[in-house]
């Protein structure tokens, strides 16, 4: 018997048996397919998401040239005068979502950039501190002093922002310092024919495993 199993004949016999078994199985499967059809089950999986928007004076704004539009259009911006500039963030529903209330609560941070430009582009010699945006920090917002510079201010919101909920204001007033009107260098007005810019970026992360999420996305938490 052992001699038979080790011989080439055994290999041929086993191969033939395997072919026969596969053939029968295939035939049965072919015969079975027309007779049996399972019920159709349909499942849809949609992942929830976080979404955040910048809100200026109650309206969502996004993209280049969309902030400060009222001040730019007025044409009579006055140096030294204080204007309302209420800024906050909103947890918004995803634009493509068709179901109300989709989305998840989130943690939010914002980065506010202030700078000047002239005819040659960004004017690095001009002082961004003359663009005085009043940051409100007693309403849940905290300034990250380590990450902030004269041009950039980073703020973290301590509270969870629910879906369709707004944060408290992180800024409420805007003034251009009167000093720009008397800043003269080499007989030339330094702040003549320039633009001041404000740019706000808002970031959001999920609240589930929030500490890990913030550390992963932002490199730190909102503590």
């Amino acid at each position: 018997m052992n001699k038979f199993l080790r011989s080439p004949k055994a290999t041929i016999v086993l191969f033939a048996l395997a072919v026969i078994l596969i053939g029968f199985g295939g035939i049965n499967a072919i015969q079975a397919a027309p007779r049996i059809e399972s019920l159709t089950f349909r499942a849809q999986v949609q992942l929830t998401n976080v979404n955040v928007a910048v809100v200026e004076n109650g309206s969502i704004v996004e993209g280049e040239g969309e902030l400060l539009t009222d001040l730019a259009k007025s044409g009579d911006f006055q140096v030294g005068k204080t204007y309302d500039e209420k800024l906050s963030a909103r947890n918004t529903q995803h634009p493509s979502s068709t179901n109300e209330g989709e989305g998840i609560p989130e943690y939010v941070r914002v980065s506010v950039y202030r700078y000047w430009t002239d005819e040659n582009g960004k004017a690095v010699d001009l002082d961004p501190s003359y663009i005085k945006l009043n940051f409100v920090t007693n309403t849940g917002w905290t300034i990250d002093e380590e990450a902030s510079t004269p041009e950039r201010t980073v703020l973290y919101y301590k509270d969870i922002v629910p879906v369709d909920g707004d944060t408290n204001l992180f800024a409420d007033k805007l003034t251009i310092d009167s000093a720009v009107a008397t800043a003269i260098s080499n007989g030339k007005y330094q702040y003549d024919n320039v633009n001041f810019h404000i740019k706000v970026t808002a970031d959001a992360v999920q609240t589930h495993n929030g500490t890990e999420a913030m550390t992963s996305a932002w490199g730190r938490t909102n503590e």
Partner: protein, 165 residues
């Protein structure tokens, strides 16, 4: 056979090391931004017009800038014998020889006229005072003016002019 053992051993080691690797997580995040700008212009741009008569010189100053309201002041230079004296609605002075326009001059606006009157106090005989004014001579009356941008307080009220004297 030896090579086969090496392959199997390597695969086993890799499997063990792979089991020691930490789990990778991903989190839901989102980001958005908005930006805007506003132009400002602080350099005053003005023009002056003048009208002359034998006894007077009248000037008006117009703010020809696009964004910046200004404060205006003016000063008269003339020979002392002419005793120049300037006046006009909304003009005050002289203070330190300057006449100040009391109103903010908005873009496109013109000041009230400032009229300089002069009367010759004395005509010298040429032998009496070679340096003084003599009959038939001409002399100049010069009016210069300065402007500075108007700045505002938090409520939008104009602040006093800073002439940097």
């Amino acid at each position: 056979m030896k090579r086969k053992q090496w392959v199997v051993t390597t695969l086993a080691v890799m499997l063990v090391l792979g089991m020691g690797v930490g789990t990778a997580w991903s989190y839901f995040t989102d980001s958005t931004w908005a930006e805007g700008s506003v132009p400002i212009s602080v350099k005053p741009t003005t023009t002056i017009t003048e009208e002359n008569t034998p006894e007077t010189k009248t000037i008006r100053i117009r703010n020809t800038g696009e964004l910046t309201p200004v404060w205006v002041r003016a000063r008269v230079y003339a020979a002392a014998e002419l005793n120049p004296n300037a006046s006009g609605n909304s003009w005050s002075g002289p203070i330190d020889s300057w006449y100040n326009y009391e109103e903010v001059l908005e873009v496109g606006e013109e000041t009230e006229p400032l009229t300089v009157k002069f009367e010759l106090k004395h005509v010298y005989d040429e032998t009496e005072n070679p340096e003084g004014a003599h009959d038939g001579e001409e002399t100049n009356i010069v009016v210069v003016y300065e402007t500075v941008p108007v700045t505002f307080d938090a409520e939008g009220n104009p602040m006093d002019a800073n002439w940097n004297d």
